[in-house]
């Protein structure tokens, strides 16, 4: 049986035919979203919720992955905080990175075994979403062997880092649309020696609005997840989690 017809069969049987898509209109504090992801991942692992994807921007923050070493900070964290950027520990793999307004982040809280993943797994799927989104705006972006993320000739356009607990992923992809790139120079972003980062705004003569980039990213996301989105507001998601109501799609 062809993979697509199998997928349709599952959809017809009501087994994960959709995922919850939650778009946050305002930049979000990192810690709040981290707590939400941890709760969502636990609920997903217990089958109290279907797969979900959070799409948002963060308030300025440098996040520290499990692999981060003190020498990855090129500027004292206290000095970074004075400049209005939070510094937060996270549960994802990888080194430090920067998030802030103008950068789209995509957090899939999904059961890996239900995804139509090819060789390369979730990492390759997230990189492909970023590569196709860049291509939509005429940007030639590519993978680099041994250097995860999506790159242009100028530098890194998108970064990937995640955690897997009980077959469920959280954390994910960040994609620089039109964000301040200076904070990347305060750290060795995920093992880079500083500097080599870029954004859609740097790469294109006529930078598109963030909403348009998000629209394209969502289309590639649906394609790679092999299912359709069920749009849910952030408030509704919070209600669903608090109420413990069944969230099966």
């Amino acid at each position: 049986m062809a993979p697509s017809s199998q997928r349709n069969e599952h959809a017809a049987a009501g087994e994960h035919p959709v995922y919850l898509r939650v778009i946050y209109p305002e930049p979000q504090p990192y810690r709040k979203v981290l707590h939400l992801m941890e709760r969502l991942a636990a609920a997903r692992a217990a089958d109290r919720v279907t797969d979900s994807v959070l799409l948002l921007e963060h308030e300025p923050v440098i996040t520290v992955g499990l692999k981060t070493r003190p020498e990855d900070f090129l500027l004292d964290p206290a000095e970074i905080r004075i400049r209005g950027i939070a510094v937060e520990r996270t549960s994802r793999g990888g080194g430090p990175t920067y998030h802030g307004p103008g950068q789209l982040v995509l957090y899939p809280i999904v059961r890996l075994s239900t995804l139509p993943l090819a060789r390369g797994g979730l990492l390759a799927a997230l990189e492909e979403i970023a590569r196709r989104t860049a291509a939509d705006f005429g940007i030639r972006a590519f993978r680099r062997p041994g250097m995860p993320g999506i790159w242009t000739e100028r530098g890194k356009l998108a970064a990937v880092g995640y955690r897997i607990r009980r077959d469920v992923s959280f954390h994910g992809l960040s994609f620089n649309v039109d964000c301040d790139l200076a904070p990347f120079s305060y750290i060795n972003p995920c093992g880079l020696s500083g500097g080599e980062v870029t954004s859609v705004a740097v790469e294109s003569a006529c930078p598109p609005p963030l909403e348009e980039v998000r629209r394209c990213m969502v289309a590639h996301l649906d394609c790679l997840l092999g299912r359709r989105a069920w749009p849910v507001t952030p408030a509704r998601l919070a209600e669903m989690l608090a109420g413990g109501s069944p969230l099966q799609g």
Binding site: R7, K67, L112, S113, G121, P148, R163, I164
Partner: protein
């Protein structure tokens, strides 16, 4: 993706091969593929008693991290010393030299809820 038929599997992508009253545990090819290049394995403490589905250790890669769970109840009796200097064995040989720990089984037959190679293969391929 291949899953050898001489062992049992969990839905969280561990395998266990029963050898008498002991079990050898590792992660599957699917798990290592989603982790990508493994850089560090936080090996569990020998002598620790674990219940089935308890979190035992964390594996870190260049861009991800994954928790490893015990497929059955038992006591950690050995860990793979090779992983300290060669964590990449998890990627290159997940079902062989990339084994993670050995368990002295609490009940040699307590394997209910584990999946056969065929059932595990169906879990990760039927989309």
């Amino acid at each position: 993706m291949k899953a050898p038929s001489d062992r049992l599997y969990t839905k969280t992508h561990e395998w266990i091969r029963i050898e008498g009253d002991e079990g050898v545990v590792g992660i599957t090819d699917f798990a290592q593929d989603n982790l990508t290049d493994v850089t560090f394995v936080e090996l569990p403490e020998i002598g620790r008693r674990v219940a089935a589905r308890d979190q035992v250790c964390v594996i870190e890669s260049v861009k991800a991290a994954a928790d490893v769970y015990s497929p059955v109840a038992g006591t950690i009796s050995a860990v793979n010393p090779e992983l300290e200097s060669h964590p990449e064995l998890i990627n290159s040989d997940p079902y062989g030299r990339g084994w993670i720990f050995r368990l002295a089984l609490e009940q040699p037959a307590a394997t209910e809820g584990l999946l056969s190679a065929e059932e595990y293969g169906a879990l990760i391929t039927e989309k």
